[in-house]
Symmetry: C2
Subunit: 339 residues, 2 copies
DNA sequence: TTGTAAGCGTTATCAG
DNA sequence: CTGATAACGCTTACAA
């Protein structure tokens, strides 16, 4: 009948300390509610036995997991790494643990992950971007699991968000490009379906063109997954057509790096022969040659702010409030001034 | 008494389908054990109610979580990203979910994470490298939680491992460097304390020197955390001494990239004035100029193999067997031939 | 301040 | 093939 070297339980600790399980539980969760003497005895028992509370049991009883789930489109490239790290540090400080999973940019995978995380008792969820099936928002509302959107800011959306204005950021950059005398623009974008960031960035370029009397409908746009190779392919594609562009705006730094490399491969000088811009300002942007003119995104600030807000939503049952962070243009070497 | 729009439970489903909870449970876990007719009725109820099983309850009852935990030193740079992604894909295919956390290269954090993951009912653990307190291995053994080490191969260690021979890989590279005529070597390493990969890579360089009649004790080694900036600082340090080296071997690509950038900053040409090598062959290695001569590590294969092995350990209670993967030297542009 | 005992939502063992 | 029912380990009223 003896549990052969299995994990010690509350009961074991209670017995060894000569108290009830309730008291042990209190010692662990709210130490002030038990007198010093018993507390000492209990704690002694706890680490004599090497006791660790069983998480599943705790979640079931408390209906609270101190776990926050995050679903990001990808872990492979660095886009989300830094912000997530900051998010993690911040919630950890507040006593929460982070569960990360990646959806590979697939809506149906994201949905499955959301359900999994909720079933696992996540107290709150961090999601990327606003584009998703309303049904899943209903689900979250019904389950009363607070969710916060990051990497995108949109006050009018149903879920609160912490991020930046993707359209406006890209519009500012395109504006700059045009101010430098470029009139033949092109764009290498991420897949815009189900990805509001990608969609809004394209829109930003178009809006800048319209504002500057260029014809947005003439903007060549290639949509492709965010991979270096794809950026390279798209670049070749764009440059081998008649009247190639003088400036290519890329949906993110990864695509831009691919474009820069392909340019070198084709014997084109950047930015003398062709200007290329990025978005995100990840580490790569500084390292590639020439270094990338790009949009700086405050990854760490965003992660931290998201953490603070989400924890607040969880702990006060507040609906959550949206915050818009600023981005800025980082001028480096991949954009040429024509005039 | 009505549960106001709370998550539906097994009981709710059972009632709606007019069966017992046991039957519903069986429908979900082992459908063959219940006849088509009832199964249909149950399934209808399941998705009419939008039922998702409560994970904590399931874990408690089944003592099985279909969760695998992985603790990696860092998520910030790309070193582990690719391998982990492959690992995740592979276990997901086998019905497991991955829980990732990062230890920031701190042994005490890793230990805490291990305990947390075990408390959460992880069925198995993926750990990086062999260097850790034996106490924690005892703990894992006592809890009967299988653990597998990756990124390092060492048949003699207590835990089974899937990885490569860090010493030998680095030795081969150093050998090549020496064969190219370099005699004044230096090394920029990661912090070797608690990091067997770093330690063994240093050893590899020393062994190659000894084998080639150079004096290993003369090798200048700077140990520093794996960050680009640190690689740059170390490089400056090394190059501003008397009789600077002609080749610097870096503990990984991140440090090497820092060194390359600092070289440019100091007006030194790579590889004409100074040769620099990396380790890992992450994406960065191809992008930096000049591209990095480095050690290629089969990240994805390693991740996949680790997944297969760990799941096997979990499902068959086998002790696990170690596998050594091959690495290779990738010759690019950052290493010069002197003779 | 501490103890008792009723859940929490599953799975699994028996019977039927 | 299906139904009761006893765990699983913890939290939390409620009592003492």
């Amino acid at each position: 009948m003896s549990k052969l070297r299995s994990a010690p339980t509350l009961d074991d600790v209670a017995k060894r300390a000569g108290v009830s399980t309730a008291t042990v539980s209190r010692c662990l969760n709210d130490p002030q509610r038990v007198v010093q003497a018993t507390r000492d005895r209990v704690m002694e028992a706890v680490d004599a036995l090497g006791y660790t509370p069983n998480f599943a049991a705790r979640v079931m009883a408390a209906k609270r997991s101190f776990t926050i789930g995050a679903i990001i489109p990808t872990m492979e490239n660095a886009i989300f790494a830094r912000g997530l790290q900051a998010f993690q540090e911040e919630i950890h400080q507040r006593g929460y643990t982070l569960l990360v999973s990646s959806s590979a940019y697939k809506p149906e995978v994201e949905e499955e992950q959301i359900r999994t995380l909720v079933a696992r008792g996540a107290d709150g969820l961090l999601l990327i971007g606003h584009d998703r099936d309303p049904g899943i928002c209903d689900y979250l509302a019904r389950q009363k699991v607070p969710a916060l959107v990051a990497w995108s800011y949109e006050a009018e959306e149903r879920m609160p968000s912490i991020g930046f204005d993707n359209r406006q950021a890209m519009m500012a950059l395109a504006d700059q490009v045009i101010a430098f005398g470029h009139t033949r623009l092109a764009m290498i974008s991420g897949l815009s379906e189900g990805n509001d960031r990608a969609r809004l960035r394209i829109q930003g370029v178009r809006d800048a063109m319209a504002q500057n009397s260029l014809r947005p409908e003439n903007l060549p746009v290639i949509e492709t997954p965010y991979e270096i190779e794809n950026g390279a392919d798209a670049f070749r594609n764009l440059m081998t057509q008649d009247a190639p562009p003088t400036a290519i705006l890329c949906g993110n730094d990864v695509l831009a790096v691919g474009a820069v490399r392909q340019a070198a491969q084709m014997g084109l000088r950047v930015p003398e022969d062709i200007s290329i811009t990025g978005f995100d300002d990840i580490e790569l942007a500084k390292i590639v040659q020439p270094s990338l003119t790009t949009i700086h995104v405050p990854h760490r600030d965003m992660g931290r702010a998201a953490a603070v807000e989400l924890v607040k939503m969880i702990e006060t049952s507040s609906p959550g409030k949206s915050t818009r962070l600023d981005t800025g243009i980082v001028m480096r070497d991949s954009l040429a001034r024509l005039i």
